[in-house]
């Protein structure tokens, strides 16, 4: 006789394995091919192959077939969750299983465990294989022993979360397809809804400020988005991982509770608990409304009529889709009461935003009630993880505060500004700290900073503004791995001994630069990029124009002529234009039809080039003539600079006569 004290029923486990086993086996085979086998193939290949790893930046296990790993993470746990609990979604099997002399707790645990094993065992076994490989084979160039632990930790937690979440989703629906759909939707939903709400508020409320790179800040809210992000950046946020682990356990507990109060007869119903139906309907309607509003807003350039159309159309579509899913038929054209109530309320909300009933758009604080202002140009800002955004120094100079409030008022008076990117466009963020302890945060797109020169020149010349905008350049915590200098053709790494001198020179030049010099981004002669220790993903950089004399001199003294001196570079074409030329940017010359270049002087004559290139060192920022140099590569733009008319050689002047 079988032992009756044993909690698990062998035959039930067997049966469950018969329905889900294929997932585990397929997952294991997939993982083996993706990781250990790939590693074996790579190290058995010729030694040269190693070089590709340097260029592809393979330095841990996430970089080996990363996209395939993501695909398995985004499919296997969902399949396992669906198939492990498939029996409760089918009437016959649901009745049969629940007629057995087993408590619901027991049934749940049997099936949960078997499904979970299909997800976790392949990962652990693969981890074990990789661990053995790291001890016995020469794989250091691909991954280290430590990487195996990190990979295992990450993968186990992510698949556990996805799996237990899918099981939870199965607890509220009686249809397997809906179960899969709901799990994906809810795992993306928190991020998606924040994105949609913020996108829509940005469209509807001029000045709305979601913050710097806010898309990234919310990615942790969705494990799906987050894990894709992890694979891209190679950086694992351990806090987030522990939170995911806790959420996985919570999902498991809620799924258990739902299972216990689940009516067996609900198999094949879209939603099991009828009070979820209105929530589901409103949710789907709302999401579709925002989605279509965003779509029409983006396609039709934020014209309010099209946005409203998008809202109404999206809401209608969402409402019908929700109704179709609940009733499981597409013929659902009877019930409109709920829809009209919904549309009524949303139009009211929409009107309150469009007509600004709360005075959000027009609110500008009096200069007197402002203690300090953080004003930042998001375009040149780089998010330094060592500094909290809100802790950046504030501008407290009263004159400047007054000017900024006037600037703010000017933007409001000007009305909507076109989102048309130009070389001097900027995203200006203003955060007022008021006397009464509250804040007002606004964010505006400025198509052309030069057009607001009257207000922005003093701001851009303010030291606090400058330091905040390139905080990483001044922070002591910035941990620089490498400094690289680039031109369009070459790049080089600066030696360690030169690093601190170069940074000092750059700081001095940057702080002393005039507004005009700062805005002369296009005329930069080279770019200096800072590779940081704690971020492989993004490196801050600074464009260096000729006027950064300290930096230029230093580089020249240290033998970087190739980068600082245009005459040292191989220029094969020169284009010259003046203010009246129709062509806006000279770097477009190689792509522009000759018929449109009549008011631009273009030459490939080496003599002429030599004469013009020399002018680069005598640049004049106030000059009305722009000169661009191009290299031998196809469409290769090197730099451009401005000069005044007297400096031009005669043959150019002749051309424009």
């Amino acid at each position: 006789m079988q032992s009756r004290t044993f909690y698990f029923k062998k035959e039930l486990l067997k049966q469950s394995f018969r329905t889900t086993g294929w997932i585990g086996i397929a997952y294991f085979i997939a993982l083996t091919i993706i990781l250990p086998l790939q590693v074996v193939m790579d190290i058995s290949a010729e030694r040269d192959e190693y070089n590709t790893y340097y260029f592809e930046r393979v330095d841990d296990l996430f970089d080996i077939n990363g996209p395939l790993q993501i695909i398995t993470i985004l499919t296997v746990p969902f399949l396992a969750g669906i198939f492990a609990f498939r029996y409760i979604q089918v009437k016959g099997s649901a009745d049969f299983i629940h007629s057995l002399p087993l408590s619901r707790n027991k049934l749940f645990h049997h099936h949960f465990l078997v499904g979970y094993a299909m997800v976790v065992i392949p990962v652990i076994v693969t981890g074990l294989i990789l661990y053995i490989m790291s001890n016995t084979m020469d794989v250091e160039e691909l991954f280290l022993q430590r990487d195996v632990g990190v990979w295992l930790f990450f993968t186990v937690i992510i698949v556990s979360l996805m799996y237990s979440f899918t099981v939870l989703a199965g607890g509220i629906t009686g249809v397997s397809a809906i179960q899969g759909m709901l799990s994906y939707i809810f795992l993306i939903f928190p991020v998606g809804i924040v994105y949609l709400i913020f996108f829509n508020l940005e469209m509807l409320l001029s000045g709305f400020s979601p913050g710097y790179l806010w898309e990234e800040n919310y990615s942790g809210w969705s494990p799906i988005v987050q894990s894709v992000f992890f694979f891209e950046s190679g950086e694992i946020d351990y806090n987030v991982m522990w939170i995911y682990a806790v959420i996985a356990v919570i999902c498991y507990l809620i799924a258990l509770v739902l299972y216990r109060c689940r009516p067996v007869e609900a198999a094949s119903q879209t939603l099991i608990f009828h009070y979820l139906k209105p929530i589901f309907k409103i949710g789907v309607t709302f999401c579709f409304m925002l989605l279509f509003g965003t779509y029409f807003g983006m396609v039709q350039e934020q014209y309010i009529g099209w946005i409203t159309f998008g809202y109404i159309f999206g809401a209608l579509l969402g409402y019908l889709i929700a109704e179709m899913l609940i009733q499981k038929t597409w013929r659902v054209f009877g019930e409109w009461k709920g829809f009209f109530i919904y549309i009524g309320i949303s139009l009211l909300v929409l009107a309150s935003l469009v007509f600004d009933w709360f005075g959000y758009e027009t609110r500008v604080p009096q200069a007197g009630e402002v203690e300090g202002i953080q004003i930042i140009d998001f375009v040149s800002y780089y998010d330094d993880p060592s500094v909290e955004f809100d802790e950046l120094p504030k501008i407290e100079d009263e004159k400047l505060i007054k000017l900024i409030t006037e600037f703010h008022q000017e933007i409001i008076d000007t009305g909507t500004l076109d989102r048309d990117w130009q070389s001097d466009s900027s995203e200006i963020y203003i955060n007022y700290y008021l006397d009464n302890g509250t804040n007002i945060k606004r964010q505006y797109f400025i198509p052309s900073v030069k057009e607001f020169k009257e207000y922005l020149k003093p701001v851009y010349e303010n030291e606090i503004f400058r330091k905040n905008s390139r905080h990483w350049l001044f922070s002591e915590k910035t941990d620089v791995k490498n400094i690289r200098i680039h031109t369009y053709r070459d790049d080089a790494v600066i030696s360690n001994t030169l690093e601190s001198r170069l940074m000092d020179a750059l700081r001095e030049d940057y702080l002393n630069a005039s507004f005009e010099e700062i805005m002369a981004g296009e005329e930069s002669i080279l770019t200096i990029e800072f590779e940081l220790e704690d971020n492989n993903y993004y490196s801050p950089f600074i464009d260096v124009p000729r006027s950064y004399t300290n930096t230029m001199d230093l580089l020249e003294k240290e033998g970087f002529h190739k980068f600082t001196d245009l005459t040292e570079q191989e220029t094969v074409m020169i284009a010259v234009k003046n203010e009246s030329s129709k062509l806006k940017y000279l770097h477009e010359v190689p792509f522009t039809d000759a018929s449109k270049l009549k008011d631009v002087f273009v030459t490939q004559d080496l003599n002429q080039i030599e004469q013009i290139v020399k002018l680069e060192k005598e640049y004049d920022y106030d000059g009305k003539w722009t000169i661009a140099a191009f290299g031998p590569g196809r469409d290769e733009y090197i730099t451009s600079f401005t000069v005044n008319e007297e400096q031009l050689p005669a043959f150019v002047k002749d051309y424009f006569k």
């Binding site: 006789m1 079988q2 009756r4 029923k9 062998k10 035959e11 039930l12 049966q15 018969r18 016959g92 099997s93 009745d95 049969f96 629940h98 007629s99 057995l100 002399p101 087993l102 408590s103 619901r104 009516p263 067996v264 007869e265 009828h274």
Partner: protein
Amino acid sequence: MILMQNVNKKFEKDPILNNVSLNVNKGSIYGLLGSNGAGKTTLLKTMAGIIKQKSGTVEIEQKPVFENYSIKERLIFIPDVLFFFSQYTTRQMANFYKNMYPNWNNDRFTQMQLLLDLDPDKKIHRFSKGMQRQVAFWLALCAMPDYLILDEPFDGLDPVIRKKIKSWVIQDVADREMTVVVSSHNLSEVEDICDAVGIIHRGELLLEKELDDLKSDIHKVQLAFKQEVSEDIYQGLDVLHKEKRGSVHVCIIRDDYYEIEKQMEPYDPVVFDILPLTLEEIFIYEMEGAGYAIENILL
């Protein structure tokens, strides 16, 4: 014994069971009759502890059935649409049952195999519908249940198999005092095995009777007289139904055989027959008395 009291059940907003109370004695066979959609299946599933009633009590041996695995170990429910795990053979299914039901009897399994002449190593879904039903009974009876709940068990079976299955069930009832509940929409299908019958209609239990009681004291009486007689002849008798066909009076009387004979004798009828009723006729008249036309409820 199985006891249900004031059981209510709703699906969404539709009431399926409405204050159902019934009582099945130990070792008896209870027939649950009702047309399609009357709530038979729901009632049986509630009885088997598969679904939970909204209110009221469902007890077996004075203990609630729902989530009570010590009772469910001795209870088997065979649904109208049979369920087997896909790709399973009878032997695999038997192993599953053996693991689930502690009273599983392996000797009986091999014994019945000889009787049935089915290959236990063949996949069940390859069997015909009738064979599958035999497999279901085979498995169920080998689990040696004390309670067997059958939903439309004879639907679509040929008479030979039907008889065979009935005899197995009756044998277990006789040998081990197994309690059986069997549902059907056809009275004649179950009347030969039932000890008691309940009729369910639109979620309500209209009637519950022991068959022996019913059959013994309801009679169909045919009378003809030479001369006209008044209504007085029926005085003192419980007449359920009466009609006159030409000069013949036909009535259904619930009373003792001899009482009826004694009462009619003085009027000197020319024709005087006292006939037993078929079960179906009894129900028709009983229900008529309760205000229902049985044709609408049962076949």
